[in-house]
Structure formats: structure tokens, C-alpha cells
């Protein structure tokens, strides 16, 4: 008695279809799963056995072998429970109705975890799984999965699964319901099918830039960061509003496109962080604590999970008190910031996670926070302590910070001064226009924002006007700038020009870009 069903597993953030073959033969009762199952899949045996029994079916007292193909990939997670259980029931049916093959078990993909009473439990990574099914189907039109008609998922995952799938998705709550649906496909009609999920009306409450008083320079830096995807470093004493400013950055960015929403949601789905099964519509804002470990930041573990830098994909990664992070935790960001993806290699598996985010770092001017500020006399640090603190961020990391901006504590008069504060809406409109200009300019390349420009790209896309070039040259000799900062300044000037809707980079844009450069403290 042999049967074949389809289940799905997740590797990294990609789902892939697993063929579950079940063979039931006479012999001493046994139940084996082969095909590189991880412990969590091996444990499925007990769940499947009980779920079949308690679901009102008979568990065969025979020799059962389950094979998971492809056999070379390690399968993890509980999502294969349903496919295995259905495989066993299919193999039993096969034995009973030898002649008429009316029931088509392999026209479905089964995803779900079983509990002992036979009910279906939601699983993590649903979005990746259904997207895996859809993509695999598209890629191999003639493959075995091309006959797949629909995906059966736990009811709790239905919303999430629907949003990522191009074929019908049925959310059911127990094993017996699944069997009934498979045996009587005509009943599908009675099930409500959500083809696409409506965009939720209530967006997350927007944090408006208007709430921040003063801080014109920092606000402008946020605008530039949002427009060109530049990384930002803010320095300032405690209570100057660094966190407040950083939290407003995601709202300055243009809304996520549908593709981006799916990309981001997949990551959150794998981590089981997708709220109420809805797609991520807001740009993520991650602010890991400075005690975070290397693995928490970069991703990893067994099985590998995405880290903070991946969770901030398409959004903002905010590192408050950056010098307090353990050094390797910051240094690990170097390569992902450059490549916008991170390769995690562990024994037996290597995976790649996306990490295209804007990094915002905040730091105090010294360990106690008062050095060099208006209230300098409150500083109790020694010169050596200050130097050590300021050196914690390594050169390569500082090199990746395109914008450096001081944040001062506002005075009371500044707080109460009636002023027209720029609103998030205004800034976002400018950012969207600037991004549109970039999109147009970089059409057909893999560049999407100015910060992605390489040295050779700069010569093509970032033309300086004669005046701007002279200004930059004289600035370099007079201000003793390093050659490494040269590209950075041009990239920022490119974004400032885009915000001013100017195709050419003018002197004023270079002048502004220069004011966000890193300056050496004169201790």
C-alpha cells in the first residue's frame, strides 16, 4: 500500500515542497520516518499516531515507512504533521479501493501541525511556505506539483497563507475536516475562500516629526537618510531626543510596495512574529538592546533564524547607545550593510537572509553623556575614558555612516517657541519625489537608492557642476578630509540634489553634504 502527498518545509526564509511518500506493508508494527528529519519531525510520529486515532480513524498496526523527499535537505518544524497523517490515511485507502482511484490525494498541499486530539494547529513561516509552493509551481510547469490545485492550512494561518498564495487556500480546523474535504471536493464551494486580503484600514499610529521641537539639522539628516537610504549616526547628550527622532524615520520612508510587503512578512512569518496573520504593511523599526548577542544581531543558531538586521529589512535598524554594544556585534554589520544581505553558514546548511535596511546609531559624546555640551561641567569622565568611548566604533563602521549629526538638548525657550515644525507628511512627499528621481535614473540597474552607488557608479550618475567640484577640492585640501570620505560626501550630495529636484549636483548641495561629515574631537 503506497501513497504520496505533498507538504512544505522552510529553509532560511524560503519554503520548499516536500514529497511525503508512505508505504504500509505487513510485518511487525513499526513507524519510521526517513529522509533527514530533524528531531521535531521525528516527534511527528507520536502526534500523527494519536491524531489519527482520536480523529476517528484507524491507525494501521503494520510496518509504516515514511520517506521525505528531497532527502538531502534537513527538514525541521512541525509543518509536515498533516502531510504525513494524510499520507498514511491515503495509503490505507489505497489498499481498500484498489480499483477505482477516485480520491486525488496529491492534488493538495497539506501544511499544519497536529495536536493529539486531531485538531490542526497553526505553524510559523506559513507565508514562506505558500510562496514556496506557488513559486515552485511556476518554475517547473511540468513537475509533479503542477497538478496541485489548492493548499490546505490550519484555520489560524488562513489569512496569512491567502495573502501570499496565487492558488486557493482552505483553512480547516481538524484532521477529519481535511479528510472530508479531500474525499468530497464538491464541498469546497461551501467554504469561504478569501482570494486576497483586504488592506487593513487602521494603520499603526504614525509618529509625526512635528512632535519634535527644533532639531532642524537632525530632522534634515533624517530626510536625507530616508531619501537616499543613507546610514546615520547621531551624537548628543542624554535626553536630547535621539530615540524620538530615530523612531520617526520609518514614517518618512515611502510605503512598502506589495512585493516588499511580502518580502518583509516572510521574514516575520518564519520568526512567528506576524501579528494576527496580516501582512506587514509598515516599515519595520527594530531597536535591539545593547546586550544583544552576535547571533541575535546577525542571525544564526540551529536551525538558523534571521537576526535583527534581517528583521529590519526594508526598514530601520536603530542601535541606541552604540558604543555599549559588544564590539563584534557591531562589527558583524560591516558585510551585510555593504551587500544588503547576510550569509549564514552552519554545519550542514548555509542560508542567505536579506538585510537591506537603514542603520541609525545613537551615542553620547562620552560615557557620562555631558562632554562638550552646554552642560559640560557636569561631565565626570577623564580624557582617556572619552577617547576610548569615542573609539569604540571602528573606522570601517564609521565609514559606512554617511551622515553624522549632533543632537543638542533643546532649551526651554526652544520648546515653547511657536514655530512651524515640518511635518512627516511634507517630508515624506519630498522623499517620495527624490526616490522617484533615483528610480528613474537607475532604471535597469540593481541600484535603487543613492547609498548603493559604488565608486565607479559615482562617476556615471553623480555629476558635479564645475563650481561644486572646485568647492569639494578646496574643502579637501583645507579641511584635511580623507579620501575615503570623498565618495560618501558625493553620495550624500547626490541625495540632497535629488531632494532639491536637481539633476546636477551644485555647490550648495556639496556644502550641505560636508556639514554631515565626521569630525575628529580635539582632545
Amino acid at each position: 500500500m503506497y501513497a504520496k502527498t505533498y507538504g512544505v518545509c522552510v529553509s532560511g526564509i524560503d519554503g520548499y515542497v516536500v514529497t511525503v511518500e508512505v508505504d504500509i506493508s505487513p510485518g511487525l508494527p513499526s513507524f519510521d520516518i526517513v529522509g533527514l528529519p530533524a528531531t521535531s519531525v521525528k516527534e511527528a510520529k507520536e502526534r500523527v499516531r494519536s491524531a489519527i486515532k482520536n480523529g476517528g480513524f484507524e491507525f494501521p498496526m503494520k510496518r509504516i515507512v515514511v520517506n521525505l523527499a528531497p532527502a538531502h535537505i534537513r527538514k525541521d518544524g512541525s509543518s509536515l504533521d498533516l502531510a504525513i497523517a494524510m499520507g498514511i490515511l491515503a495509503a490505507l485507502q489505497e489498499g481498500k479501493h484498489k480499483k477505482k482511484q477516485s480520491i486525488q490525494w496529491n492534488h493538495h498541499v497539506f501544511i499544519g501541525e497536529l495536536s493529539l486530539d486531531g485538531s490542526l494547529q497553526p505553524v510559523m513561516g506559513m507565508l514562506s511556505m505558500v510562496m514556496g509552493v506557488t513559486n515552485q509551481e511556476l518554475e517547473n510547469e511540468h513537475s509533479y506539483t503542477s497538478m496541485v490545485e489548492d493548499i490546505i492550512v490550519p484555520l489560524g494561518n488562513q489569512e496569512e497563507a491567502t495573502s501570499g498564495s496565487s492558488i486557493p487556500v482552505y483553512g480547516l480546523s481538524s484532521l477529519s475536516e481535511v479528510v472530508e474535504l479531500v474525499e468530497h471536493p464538491e464541498k469546497k464551494k461551501h467554504l469561504s475562500i478569501q482570494t486576497s486580503i483586504e488592506i487593513s484600514k487602521h494603520r499603526m499610529e504614525m509618529l509625526d516629526l512635528q512632535d519634535v521641537k527644533g532639531q532642524v539639522m537632525a530632522k534634515r539628516a533624517l530626510e536625507i537618510a530616508a531619501a537616499g537610504g543613507h546610514h546615520l549616526l547621531m551624537t548628543g547628550p542624554p535626553g536630547s531626543g535621539k530615540t524620538m527622532l530615530a523612531k520617526r524615520l520609518p514614517f518618512l520612508l515611502p510605503p512598502l510596495s506589495r512585493e516588499e510587503q511580502l518580502e518583509v512578512s516572510r521574514i516575520y512569518s518564519v520568526m512567528g512574529l506576524l501579528k494576527s496573520g496580516r501582512l506587514m504593511e509598515e516599515r519595520p523599526f527594530r531597536s535591539p538592546h545593547h546586550t544583544s548577542t552576535l547571533v541575535a544581531m546577525a542571525g544564526g543558531g540551529q536551525p538558523p533564524k534571521p537576526g535583527e538586521i534581517t528583521l529590519a529589512h526594508k526598514g530601520v535598524l536603530f542601535l541606541d547607545e552604540a558604543p555599549e554594544f559588544r564590539r563584534p556585534v557591531i562589527e558583524v554589520l560591516r558585510q551585510p550593510l555593504e551587500e544588503r544581505q547576510i550569509h549564514i553558514a552552519r554545519i550542514g546548511m548555509a542560508t542567505t537572509y536579506p538585510s537591506d535596511c537603514i542603520v541609525v546609531m545613537a551615542m553620547n559624546p562620552c560615557p557620562c553623556g555631558w562632554f562638550g555640551t552646554e552642560e559640560d561641567y557636569r561631565c565626570t569622565c577623564t580624557a582617556t575614558q572619552i577617547q576610548r568611548y569615542q573609539r569604540v566604533l571602528s573606522g570601517p563602521i564609521l565609514d559606512r555612516m554617511d551622515l553624522v549629526v549632533p543632537v543638542e538638548r533643546p532649551t526651554l525657550t526652544e520648546i515653547y517657541a511657536p514655530r512651524d515644525e515640518v511635518s512627516t507628511k511634507q517630508v515624506r512627499n519630498r522623499v517620495i519625489r527624490a526616490r522617484a528621481m533615483q528610480m528613474e535614473r537607475y532604471k535597469g540597474t540593481n541600484i535603487s537608492v543613492n547609498s548603493h552607488l559604488s565608486h565607479s557608479d559615482i562617476e556615471i550618475y553623480a555629476k558635479l557642476s564645475e563650481e561644486a567640484k572646485n568647492l569639494l577640492d578646496s574643502a579637501f585640501t583645507t579641511l584635511h578630509l580623507s579620501l575615503r570620505s570623498y565618495d560618501r560626501i558625493i553620495k550624500v550630495a547626490r541625495t540632497i540634489a535629488d531632494l532639491a529636484e536637481s539633476e546636477e549636483i551644485l555647490a550648495e548641495h556639496v556644502a550641505e553634504a560636508l556639514s554631515y561629515r565626521q569630525v575628529q574631537e580635539g582632545l
Binding site: 532639531q215 562638550g372 569622565c381 580624557a383 532639491a500 550641505e512 569630525v519 582632545l523
Partner: protein, 367 residues
């Protein structure tokens, strides 16, 4: 082997301080003679020398130590300057516990011009105002042909040297460690520049001696002792710079100080000194009067810099800046009412004209 090497070797012996060394040299009339007696433990008992044949880091002192020392001195280009040396600053002979042996690296000729020298001291952790003042005075004094002596530490010391390096006269850094040891590390480039520009690194410690906290007060006595006067640039209340000022007074040197901001408390030491009767310096040329020094022809006209022209808007920005302190962009936007983009251009122009400096917290006006 040269006399100086013997003197240097004797200086390493634990138990032989400057007083004992002086007695030994006078009694035996040559360092070589003294060395042999010390090595064979038959020193004249009436000299009362008690010593062990080890140096401070427990290396045994013997003939091979002597050879090693000679090699090290050569390798690190360290000159040994003994009491008898023509280079030894005369003024240093006058002070209490004056060092019998000094080590110099670089241009030791400058030591013959110590009658036209001033020390600049101040806090390692200093305000941006302090840095500005130190650079300004360092440069101006140097351009008046005065040798600026400081301690090669962070903060005011560093800024004083930097200023002096921009001027015409050489500068001297007196260190609290051996001259082949770089302390503080961050000032490595500064020391290299001092050597490059015909300056001198000076120390009373032999090769390989690490910087220790007790070295610094004794280094300060050299700084204040070898110069005509000491300028306290920025000192908090009860700080090391005040101790240096104290030493200067005790040795009959002059103490100058530069007034600072009374609100920030970073210059409380300066103000205390003023209350005690120190001379207030507001203009570097004042010191010429104090000592009756003439302007040196070689250095004259160095102080007049090229005059930069500023336009109306730049002037507006300059007027809005806090004199002697940081001005944030925030404040400038507020006071000048100029749009941010214009302001950036104006500030950069002023910076290129070297009238202001961009710091991590804003902009500082040049004096």
C-alpha cells in the same frame, strides 16, 4: 665608552636619587670612576649611598647592562644630557631635586635658548574653548620666537604643541616615560611632527621606562623649572596644573593665566590663580613686555595673517556665533533666520577661510 653612558647607567640604579648621584659625581669627579665603585660595592661610606644593583624593573645592573644601554640609546636616537653638558638648561640647575641626567630626542640645540621659553599647562580633559586658547597662544608665542614647553599629554598640552608647531619656533615636549615609549598613544603623530619640525622630546627617564602616575608630578617640575614662566591655560579647581603652577612659584618662576568662562567651571583654577595674584594674560605679546624681550626679526610679521574678506551674509553668521565656545546649527538658524541650505554654504565658506572650525557638537569661532 662615553661618560654620559656611565652617568645614565648610574641613574638607573635603584636607591641612587639625584642627590646621591650629585655626591658621587662630585666625589669621584667622573661618572666612569663612580660607576666602577658602585658596581664593586666599594663606595666611599661617607657619601651614605644605599643602593641595590637593580633598576626599577628588576633588571640586574652590570657590565652587560651598560652595553645594552649604549645600544638602546643609539638605537632610539636618545642624547644623554648630564649636568655638565653644555646643553643642560641652566635654569633647571636652580630647582630643588634637579635631575642629574636628562634624555633628549630631536634637536637638542633648542635647550640653549631656554631663556626665551614659556611653559603651557592645562587639563587633559578640556573644553573646546581651552583648545582654541591653547592653539592660539601656542602659535602666537611660537611666532614671537618663544619656545613653548609642554607635557605632550592630551587636551591642553596637545593643543599647545599643535599651536606652536604652526608657528616658527620649535617646541619641546617633556614626557613622563622613556623616549622610545609613546604615551599617550594617540599623540604619536604629534610627537613625530615635533621631531620633524626641529622640536625636542625631553625626559628624565631612560629607555623603555613606561609612564607611571608618579612620573607626571616630577615631570611637571622640569616643565616649570626649565622655563621662564608657566602659563596655566585651563585648569579646574584643585588640578595637577595648579600643582605645576605652585612648583613654578616655589622655584621663583612666573605664573600666568588666561581667564575663562565663569559659568562652565572648567577655568575655576585659572580664576583662583588670578585671585592669588597670577599675571593675567589676554594677549600673547604681553609676555614680551613682562620679560623685556625684543621681537626677533626672523620671526616678525609672521603673526599677521592674510586678511580674509567676508561678505555680508557671512558676517551675519560670524556675528551670531558664540565667542569662545560652541555654536550649534540650531542656534544659528534661530539667530540668523537664514534657511538651512544657505547656512550650510556660508559655514563651509567660513570654514574654508579658516575662520571657524566644525566640531562634533557644532561650530567654533577662531580667535
Amino acid at each position: 665608552m662615553k661618560e654620559e653612558i656611565y652617568a645614565s647607567a648610574l641613574q638607573h640604579v635603584v636607591g641612587l636619587g639625584n642627590a646621591s648621584l650629585g655626591n658621587l659625581f662630585t666625589y669621584y669627579e667622573s661618572a666612569k670612576e663612580a660607576w666602577h665603585h658602585v658596581l664593586h660595592h666599594n663606595v666611599e661610606p661617607s657619601l651614605g649611598c644605599k643602593y641595590e644593583l637593580f633598576d626599577e624593573i628588576r633588571r640586574p645592573i652590570n657590565e652587560s647592562f651598560l652595553l645594552q644601554l649604549e645600544e638602546d640609546l643609539e638605537r632610539f636616537h636618545m642624547h644623554v644630557i648630564t649636568w655638565e653638558s653644555p646643553y643642560y638648561p641652566k635654569s633647571l640647575l636652580e630647582i630643588y631635586n634637579s635631575p642629574r641626567v636628562l634624555y633628549g630626542r630631536g634637536n637638542i640645540e633648542v635647550l640653549q635658548h631656554m631663556d626665551r621659553s614659556l611653559a603651557m599647562v592645562g587639563a587633559r580633559k578640556c573644553s573646546s574653548y581651552g583648545v582654541q586658547v591653547a592653539r592660539y597662544f601656542g602659535r602666537a608665542l611660537s611666532n614671537l620666537g618663544i619656545i613653548v614647553v609642554s607635557g605632550g599629554a592630551m587636551g591642553i598640552d596637545r593643543a599647545s604643541h599643535e599651536g606652536a608647531l604652526q608657528g616658527q619656533a620649535p617646541t619641546i615636549a617633556v614626557m613622563g616615560c622613556g623616549l622610545n615609549v609613546t604615551y599617550p598613544r594617540t599623540n604619536r603623530n604629534l610627537f613625530l611632527e615635533i621631531l620633524e619640525k626641529d622640536g625636542l622630546l625631553l625626559s628624565e627617564y631612560g629607555p623603555h621606562m613606561q609612564a607611571k602616575s608618579h612620573h607626571f608630578p616630577s615631570r611637571n617640575r622640569i616643565i616649570s623649572g626649565m622655563t621662564r614662566g608657566t602659563i596655566v591655560v585651563e585648569a579646574k579647581a584643585s588640578s595637577g596644573s595648579l600643582i605645576t603652577a605652585d612648583m613654578a612659584i616655589n622655584e621663583g618662576r612666573d605664573v600666568f593665566t588666561i581667564p575663562g568662562n565663569v559659568l562652565t567651571h572648567t577655568c575655576d583654577g585659572n580664576h583662583w590663580l588670578i585671585q592669588q595674584g597670577a599675571t593675567v594674560l589676554t594677549d600673547p605679546e604681553q609676555v614680551l613686555h613682562e620679560y623685556g624681550w625684543q621681537k626677533v626679526a626672523k620671526y616678525s610679521n609672521m603673526n599677521s595673517e592674510q586678511v580674509n574678506t567676508v561678505n555680508e551674509e557671512e558676517q551675519r553668521v560670524l556675528e551670531a556665533m558664540n565667542p569662545g565656545g560652541n555654536t550649534t546649527i540650531e542656534e544659528l538658524v534661530h539667530t540668523t533666520q537664514l534657511p538651512l541650505t544657505n547656512l550650510h554654504t556660508l559655514l563651509l565658506q567660513l570654514e574654508l577661510k579658516q575662520m571657524i572650525t566644525h566640531t562634533s557638537q557644532g561650530y567654533v569661532l577662531h580667535t
